[in-house]
């Protein structure tokens, strides 16, 4: 019990310092002429997840600038107060307390990974702060309480949607299933396996691999023996790339369906010509004829020097959605913003049309499937049967 106590006292000390600073500021007569609405922001700017965190930060800064250039919200400018959580639980809790105690933030966009988002959620919930998790997929983020929202599909609904796609669109009956051994890979595969039975898909064999593995010789040999109609694999682009390359090199010609985190230009770079024809479920439809999306692509490329990934797009949309909710609530008061967010209907996210939030504040939106064609991600199908991949309710 020593550790939490130490942490609490450090927190109290920080709050005290913060309070004194605020008091001094007010006494000095420094109330700003143009009041600002503060949006807290957490992302992994250093550490293993820094690539995603930096993209998220660039995108969020872009959103704030554009909103402010267009006159702000309710006559006030938005200010992004951002902290590096290193995608670690302890840093997430520490910076969440800082945001609440020192910065007096009431509305937060958490553009971080599952572990850190899950750790920050209870801190914000307890303080009555609204948090939008841009892409953290841990189920406990939204079950923490009613101030929490999430903008991506959970793993199991993604897997169920994939089963629907495999059965209805590709009409494949016999599947070899390859699972990445982490929360995301397993949860997504569980959704797939559960729904596969319903759609009459026969899963011939299941294989698993660790997050650090890049050599799949024995899995490839086994899949070849299976002679499946198709191969479904969960993983990230850096495992999926070598996997797809090695499956094709080994002579597996059946269609390959990958999970959401395959969706990166880097996947195509790694798998090279072998990536052609790979389907990626719940991916980001980049080619959509949408002025806002194309403008975002151009501007992000200019600022970052590389094209935006899903993470960047969803972080941008999270900030915009928060601003939109403040507008609709006509107030930056957290309970009112929460209610406005919960009432969101047909809001255009860069990643697709958000139909609304369910009772647990999980997204209800269609799922896009991309296919790799001529070295580019192209939209292949849009799954609109929302009941097939409905998120869990409260």
């Amino acid at each position: 019990m020593l550790y939490p106590t130490a942490k609490l006292s450090r927190f109290t000390a920080k709050t005290l310092v913060g309070a004194v600073a605020v008091a001094a500021y007010v006494l000095a007569g420094g109330a700003p002429a143009n009041a600002q609405i503060k949006i807290g922001f957490q992302a992994p700017l250093t550490g293993f997840a820094a690539t995603d965190g930096k993209s998220a930060k660039i995108a969020a800064d872009m959103a704030i600038e554009e909103i402010n250039n267009a006159g702000g919200v309710l006559g006030q400018k938005l200010e992004l107060i951002s902290y590096d959580d290193q995608a670690k639980s302890d840093q997430a809790i520490f910076t969440a307390n800082k945001l609440i105690g020192e910065d007096g933030v009431k509305l937060v966009v958490n553009a971080s990974y599952s572990a850190s988002g899950r750790a920050a959620a209870p801190v914000f919930q307890k303080a009555g702060v609204v948090m939008i998790a841009a892409y953290g997929v841990h189920p406990e983020i939204t079950t923490t309480g009613d101030f929490m929202f999430r903008l991506v599909h959970l793993g199991p609904p993604q897997g169920r949607a994939t089963a629907l796609f495999v059965s209805n669109d590709l009409k494949l009956k016999k599947i070899s299933a390859i699972t990445m051994d982490n929360d995301y890979g397993q949860a997504t595969m569980e959704g797939f396996l559960g729904a596969a039975q319903k759609y009459g898909i026969q899963v011939i064999n299941k294989y698993s691999y660790s997050l650090t593995d890049r050599q799949f010789g024995s899995i490839v040999a086994s899949v070849k023996r299976d002679e499946p109609d198709g191969v479904y694999a969960t993983g990230y682009f850096f495992t999926g790339g070598p996997l797809v390359a090695q499956l094709r090199a080994g002579g597996v010609t059946a269609p390959i369906i990958g999970s959401q985190a395959f969706d990166s230009q880097k996947f195509i770079e790694i798998a090279g010509p072998a990536s052609e024809g790979t389907y990626i479920a719940d991916s980001f439809d980049r080619g959509r004829n949408d002025a806002a999306l194309q403008k975002f692509f151009a501007e992000f490329q200019k600022r970052a020097g590389y094209p935006p990934e899903n993470v960047a797009a969803i972080s941008y949309s999270a900030v915009e959605l928060m601003a939109d909710a403040i507008k609709r609530a006509n107030s930056a008061d957290p309970p009112k913003v929460r209610d406005a967010l919960a009432a969101t209907k047909n809001y255009p996210l860069l990643t697709g049309e958000l139909i609304g939030f369910n009772s647990l504040h999980e997204v209800i939106m269609p799922i896009s499937v991309n296919v790799v064609k001529d070295g580019k991600m192209k939209l292949f199908a849009k799954l609109g049967d929302l009941s097939a991949f409905a998120p869990p309710e409260k």
Binding site: Y209, T212, S218, A221, P242, G251, K266
Partner: protein, 289 residues
């Protein structure tokens, strides 16, 4: 056919492990140091291969550059990190070695990015040979050929050349070798140079096979190689070679029986624990530790 496919994959894993582990076991034999940072040299070799290959347009040139540069690095690690610590208990240099590994992994991350580097032209990973229905990739063949050449060369070197015989003598009986006029310090440099070059070659080939060199490339092989040298009977080259091939095969064939609920790395470690319980002295027969 299935079993032959698995054998091919197991053999190529095994050859890669052997090239990686031989340097490690020799360092242990000579200095009684667990040279954990060897995995960082493996990763360094992979990075040099991919960077030089992309800059020059030639994969072969990339591999050569890795084999040429990493021995210098390996010798510098000995001179600057291990030599000053030799008078301390063996766990002191080992902890320094762990520190170097962590430092280098993060240095790769910072210098070359979290997402890793891919080969711009990697004809080998996508060139497939169909040998009587068994499909083998050019890099897998290269792994096998390299391992055969390397171990045959090492065998010749340590039985037919003066310095090689001196090396072998120093590993097995350091004091007697010194009294016969073998320069122990020169042997150590030689040892780090050759071990590093082999690790770099293995790293470069793994990078080619994956078509990706990322900061965690040395991570799995680092602890697998440690397990291999224990299984091989610490300090024994022959034992290490056998242990590497056994591990490669176990991983590959293990997928048939337990692939559903255990991944390759887990299969490898379950097998290692079982083998060490049956044969704690390892495959080499004699205890050298």
């Amino acid at each position: 056919m299935y079993y032959i496919d698995l054998a091919v994959s197991g053999l190529s894993f095994g050859c890669m492990y052997a090239m990686m582990a031989v340097g490690l076991t020799l360092v242990y034999g000579l200095l009684r140091i667990l040279h954990v940072a060897h995995a960082a040299i493996f990763a360094l070799g992979a990075y040099i291969t991919v960077l030089v290959a992309n800059a020059s347009g030639s994969v072969g040139f990339g591999l050569l550059a890795a084999i040429a540069v990493t021995p210098l690095f390996g010798m510098a690690v000995y001179r600057l990190l291990y030599e000053p610590l030799l008078s301390y208990r063996p766990d002191v240099p080992m902890i320094a070695s762990v520190g170097l590994l962590v430092l280098m992994q993060d240095a790769f991350r910072i210098a070359f990015g979290e997402q890793g580097v891919t080969f711009q032209h990697n004809a080998y990973a996508f060139r497939i040979f169909d040998i009587a229905g068994v499909r083998v990739n050019a890099v897998q063949i290269a792994m096998l050929v390299c391992a055969i050449v390397v171990f045959a060369g090492l065998h010749f070197f340590t039985t037919h050349t003066r310095i090689g015989i001196g090396w072998r003598a120093t590993v097995s009986r350091p004091r007697i070798a010194t009294s016969f006029g073998v320069d122990a310090v020169r042997v150590r440099y030689l040892n780090f140079a050759i071990g590093s070059a082999l690790a770099a070659l293995a790293g470069g080939l793994v990078g080619l096979l994956n078509n990706l060199v990322d900061p965690v490339i040395g991570y799995v092989v680092s602890y697998k190689a440690l397990a291999i040298i224990v299984l091989g009977g610490l300090g024994s080259v022959r034992g290490t070679l056998i242990a590497s091939l056994v591990l490669g095969m176990v991983e590959s064939y293990g997928t048939i029986f337990v692939g559903t609920w255990l991944n390759r790395d887990a299969i490898a470690f379950v097998a290692l624990i079982a083998l060490l319980m049956i044969r704690p002295q390892g495959f080499s027969g004699a205890r050298t530790a």
